[in-house]
Subunit: 244 residues, 2 copies
DNA sequence: AGGAGTTTGTGAACGCGAGAACAAAATCTG
DNA sequence: CAGATTTTGTTCTCGCGTTCACAAACTCCT
């Protein structure tokens, strides 16, 4: 690993690894709850659904937190990963668009328990203002800038209809938000330095449909109804976006 | 492209390409609605948020549907992609776990309009049975096998709490479902030939948090509050799971 | 008709990630 | 204490995906 020419060079964690760290974190939390104090890379890899070599390589980017011949201290490793991700502190989050999906998100308890705190629910529809969802009041969308400023909000969630999403994103960026989780379909355009991640249910289903169609096609034309001729997938598809 | 040793060899579309086809499909639908009859790879790539070379290579796996010097016929290409994905037909879908999230999913109109039909809503909680959500009644989970058989259901959605997810998945597979979209956190174990895709809100937020933390760290220690020292991302993160 | 201009489809180069394999480091055993 | 055993951290190789760059193919204009 030749250090890049930069002075400190820090640890530059590959994006694929970053995407798996939360999975390891969850697996470690499960192990803790099960009372396990120590685990090998093999065990943890199984719990996370990945290859053990991949797991070890991923962890090596963070440092040397294991002990050869022994394994990893579950609690210690869990803390190190949480610190690396940045979820030892609580991140304030705003949700915009409190419709079907927004309500579900606001009610989702997994937010709190994983290092995120919903500080505001915003909606453009005045008839929703004042409504309490999971103890938080729905407020006018125009309060965004003030809320972001007062609470140091860096992360915003968009759950509005698609046509409003770009507008909302622009206003979020303007207000100082630099990370957006977008549930509305379509492409968001944001300035450099702003991260966007997209969750698109229809795309996921369509990917499944494609593979489903291939399976069906492979059984039909031959006439023979054979079982799983080509193993498409089995497990451990931690990497979002890949199936096999 | 050397044809694999198999007899027909068909077109083997790379997984990364499959994951982008739905994005192109949506972009083309937008163009159609905007009244555009023809478009270049450059225009379509912009609408989909990807590099135009990548778009052309992706489309080349499907066939030669463009005209050099002209571009693509929007409607024709849209149909070809829809056919390739398999969404010219309607796919019956069952949703299991009609709580917060399940309600939102059941109410989601984007299902229907994109080639999927919710044929049943299932929940283990008897007090929910009979409730109508978007015109579909909530039924006992034990009806699963019959519903899958009668409606030829291949795709199932899991929106139950995490502890129940593996059980539900097992029952789905047993009933004949071979594609699962899982919203519950944790790793599902399924037999070969069954596809699982996972949507995990917390993981997405944690990935954002990681990058957010890096941005903050890069501004602080230097003392200087410079603007975006290293361009982390800008746009076009079509590929789920990557940020930059 | 012929040349200029466009735009597709693809060959080739490159970089990143996955996995196998192994050396180093720790524990355990006798 | 020495050797066997376990398990990590890392090196190496391979394959996939992205991107560049360009020839082929089509249109348009004179
Ligand atoms: N419901 C689902 O399960 C689901 C699944 C996948 C994707 N989505 C997407 O998520 C988004 C929301 O879906 P939904 O079913 O909750 O829709 P919805 O219509 O129920 O809710 C949208 C909410 O956004 C508010 N809104 C509209 N414009 C706004 C603006 N400019 N600023 C602030 N708020 C605004 C509306 O008042 C409404 O309350 C949609 O883009 C949808 O495609 C939903
Ligand atoms: N609400 C969200 O926004 C959100 C976001 C991300 C992930 N999730 C995940 O989605 C899942 C559902 O979340 P929710 O908020 O809707 O939970 P919820 O508790 O509101 O709903 C769960 C539903 O599943 C039903 N259920 C439980 N066990 C079952 C079983 N064995 N078979 C059939 N049905 C069963 C329950 O009766 C309940 O109706 C959870 O795993 C959660 O972690 C939710």
């Amino acid at each position: 690993m030749t250090a890049r020419t930069s002075p400190e060079a820090a640890r530059e964690i590959p994006e694929a690894t970053v995407a798996r760290l939360p999975v390891y974190l969850r697996a470690l939390t499960s192990l803790t709850e099960a009372g396990t104090a120590t685990c090998s890379s093999e065990e943890l890899a199984a719990a996370a659904g990945v290859n053990s070599a991949k797991l070890r390589k991923d962890l090596s980017y963070l440092g040397s937190y294991g002990t050869r011949g022994v394994g990893y201290d579950v609690e210690y490793l869990r803390y190190q990963i949480a610190r690396e991700i940045g979820v030892t502190q609580d991140w304030p989050v705003v949700i915009v668009g409190i419709g079907n999906l927004g309500h579900a998100l606001a009610n989702y308890s997994g937010f709190r328990s994983r290092g995120f705190r919903v500080v505001a629910l915003l909606d453009a529809d005045a008839s929703r203002h004042g409504e309490l969802v999971a103890g938080v009041a729905v407020r006018p969308f125009d309060d965004l800038a003030a809320i972001v400023r007062d609470n140091d909000v860096a992360i915003g969630v968009i759950a509005t209809p698609a046509p409003a999403a770009q507008d909302v994103a622009d206003r979020m960026v303007e207000a100082g938000i630099s990370s957006i989780l977008n549930f509305a379909p379509g492409v968001l355009s944001v300035p450099e330095g702003v991260d966007v991640r997209k969750v698109d249910l229809s795309i996921e289903l369509q990917i499944l449909a494609y593979h489903e169609q291939r399976k069906a096609q492979q059984a039909r034309p031959d006439g023979s109804v054979d079982e799983v001729p080509v193993p498409l997938v089995e497990q451990g598809l931690v990497d979002q976006g890949r199936v096999s």
